[in-house]
Symmetry: C2
Subunit: 576 residues, 2 copies
Amino acid sequence: MKNPLPHWLPILRWAPQYRAEHLAADGVAAAVVTLMLIPQSLAYALLAGMPAQTGLYASMLPLVAYAIFGTSNTLAVGPAAITSIMTASALGTMALAGSVGYVAAVALLTLMSGIMLFLMGALRLGVIANFLSHPVISGFVSASGLLIAASQLKHLLGIPLQGQTLPQLATSLGQHIGQWQGPAAAIGLLTLVFLVWARHSFKPRLRALGLRPMAADVIAKAAPVLALAVATLIAWGLRLEDGGLRVVGAVPGGLPPLTLPTLNTNLWPQVQQLATAALLISLVGFVESVSLGQSLAAKRRERIEPDAELRGLGAANIAAGLTGGFPVTGGFSRSVVNFDAGARTPAAGIYTAIGLLLAALLLTPALYHLPQTALAATIVASVLTLVDVHAFGRTWRYARTDFTALALTFVLTLTVGIEAGLMAGVGVSLLLHLWRTSRPHIATVGRVPGTEHYRNVLRHTVETHPGVLGLRVDESLYFANARPLEDHIAAEVAAHPDIEHVVLQCSAVNAIDASALESLEAITLRLKDAGVKLHLSEVKGPVMDRLERSDFLQHLTGRVFLTHHQAVTALTQPPH
Amino acid sequence: MKNPLPHWLPILRWAPQYRAEHLAADGVAAAVVTLMLIPQSLAYALLAGMPAQTGLYASMLPLVAYAIFGTSNTLAVGPAAITSIMTASALGTMALAGSVGYVAAVALLTLMSGIMLFLMGALRLGVIANFLSHPVISGFVSASGLLIAASQLKHLLGIPLQGQTLPQLATSLGQHIGQWQGPAAAIGLLTLVFLVWARHSFKPRLRALGLRPMAADVIAKAAPVLALAVATLIAWGLRLEDGGLRVVGAVPGGLPPLTLPTLNTNLWPQVQQLATAALLISLVGFVESVSLGQSLAAKRRERIEPDAELRGLGAANIAAGLTGGFPVTGGFSRSVVNFDAGARTPAAGIYTAIGLLLAALLLTPALYHLPQTALAATIVASVLTLVDVHAFGRTWRYARTDFTALALTFVLTLTVGIEAGLMAGVGVSLLLHLWRTSRPHIATVGRVPGTEHYRNVLRHTVETHPGVLGLRVDESLYFANARPLEDHIAAEVAAHPDIEHVVLQCSAVNAIDASALESLEAITLRLKDAGVKLHLSEVKGPVMDRLERSDFLQHLTGRVFLTHHQAVTALTQPPH
């Protein structure tokens, strides 16, 4: 038997072959990612309603856990915008943001999400994530981006702001807009403008100033760190916090604490309350992470394993839950930077964790004067890229059903809430899918003159015979569309008294379930009573295998033909 | 504009052409059906927990309403076994069977079911009924048949018996079996034996005694009426009710009362409590009725309209709800008899209603001494035919997923309850369907030597080229299976470094939703990054129309070929 350890611990596949050249490549990539992750981890902690240091905690052990269990060489795991606001939303009604109860509840939520992900991976249940369709994810992410940006107005303007939905936030903004703080607004908006400018124009400008490409690249990626450093210096130099500017304040430095859920009578009710949110955070985090990891791996003709990714993300979140963090997943911008900077193995994640550990040990005193408005600006700059306006028009043009799912998810996420929007989207996309397949396209087909091809009589000029009705069903036959087929055939035969043979062309029928089989038997019997024979053509191998296990073929009044042309030729031959 | 009245009132289509020969045919059929319906209507009232006369009420105006709105010439509407036990089950926890509150609640349930059916018909929502798959219906009907038979042991043995599920009934039976009543058991079992014998052997025996075929046929169909008459005479002659034999007792004769729901503060909570049951009764009644009506119509190359059937059944149930009845639907045995006896138009139902009216006016004194155990025997004799033992083996051999839905519905209906079993069955069959389509069959295809056909390399000896990977996806592409396709192609390309072209054969792809489109775009980009081109072949017209509305074809690195053979020929030609 094959050694099962490398299956469960993918680190054993690459660590034995780890060489110095890997160390160099991974080290450089880790250094750049660390520069990005320090401000992001603090900002997403703020977004999740958690103390700033928990962002650092969430960026240490979880990265090591992913490096042991994950299979992507380039995915940069850590705090991310969507999972952070989902965390804040899940806890919104349970405890006050930032309080001890809140921190403990987030740790429990994170641990639960980690265990769910790990179990889904172990049980190969990653397929569940497929039920989050692209339009639902797209509508959800766009709406979440807007909600995140709206929620940060609190810090950007230095005003109190309450609410979890856009209408609530807008109402609260209307009440408090008069209290806006000049220093907070000035620092926040300047930081935001700089970051938006820096995204595309910083690197070319640095190059124009004569920096070498490599140096220009690293400095451009450190733009948020630079912006925060400058903002901190200004706030400190001008003593703006004395005038009411809110800063991060005292951040406990050092190693993350080991935290276990308190085993008391409140635990089980809390677990029940958080279960749905934990599942949704798990699924959204996994979908975002696995599609990102797959895209990056394919560029180098590498592969990731979805089930191992579930276990990797699960281990990362279990680590986050046990060390005072909050939910983590693969971050888009950091992963792309990690890939571009040349990360070769998951070890780059371990080196990033060491970078964050050094930051936690050395940098925390410097964070005291960091203005919250500047952190909020880095969040807004990054989440505005999540809002995909083009998806609306593109999806509308492509398919109304998909647009319905997208628009509904978008609107409900903004107006009712994060979880309600996502769940309604999933439900609606399932119903729309069933609705579509329950109304199959059934074409009456005729022969394209001079060929053996049979096409839709409504789209093509074709030859037909009055005694033979050829029908092509463009859908697998199952319970939801079996009866409409009965109705369709009954109507056709009642309308055309000359018909003696009905031939079902089954080239697009990928499956026939037991309900459809009963319908086919009913159709056969009814046609028989009306003096009409039923034939099949172009039945696929797997479908035929199954039909042979029933007694349908014994009851069939007609024959099963290999091709539709053979059927029509045989049935229209003059008797001799 | 076409006159819309005949659409809404199908009676206007046939009544103007009504002739004397129709009257004769419909009259004979109605006479035979009346003979069957009198005992059935009393027995199903008992089963529904309603006073005996309500069975007669449910067999008058509802039949007239169906004749006005329905489209089947042969369907015999009235009380039926399954809808009756569903009624008893729905009310089980709300009020005491037979009490005034119970009768009013059943009238409300019936009215609600009628309104739901009528609205579904008016809004063309009959498609909802398709989600009751054949295995779910089969498991549900078999389990209901057993539950009905078990519940009748109460009357057959003359013992108290409580419970709505098989375990509850068995426990209750164990407690009370010692109290069984000799007269009730004797009359009940003799009636049952006679009815089971009569089903197949009464008519041949009457013929052997010298009766003409027609007379033998009518007498054989009146077997339940004869049995009840004899049982009544015996009970009356031997004064068995003095010894404790339970009889029907005083039945108010005459016309049904007009009953409207009482408009008080209890109405809305009652409506909410009954809504699910009303919907389930509507769906089950409609599915049974429409498949029966369709089978009978097809035998004469006639047609029924499913939406008109919904309105017809809706009108019938509204009539039942307003005249003190309980839910009605098309009855299987009566409809077949109606058909065989030669009913030509829905007027046969009106004549049957007149027959029942005469029975209500003249027969009720005679019903006083009718033993309940004999009525229970007619129920048991008829419901045992509902239990379809063969469906289990047949479905198991055909498809495990369908068997799972059938077995689960059967077991849960017996052990948890009528409604829970049916709903669990619907939910499970939807999930199993999604699960099946989320794991599509993807075949690597090669050329069958000497032909232009491409088949699965695992099933056939075919020719392949190392540089060209031909894949046939046997499923429409939608969100649930889009990502597995990405995984499959990524794995194939990672495993075969020689591949330069991937050709997707789309002959079985009936639709591509927005999620699958994004996946195809991701696949295209990833293959491009790996130096591989993606091509499509045999894309269907409607799918191609839609792709042309997106920008996918501009991004496609390869081409769209009319046939798979053209693709492989073009891609394997030596450059020149």
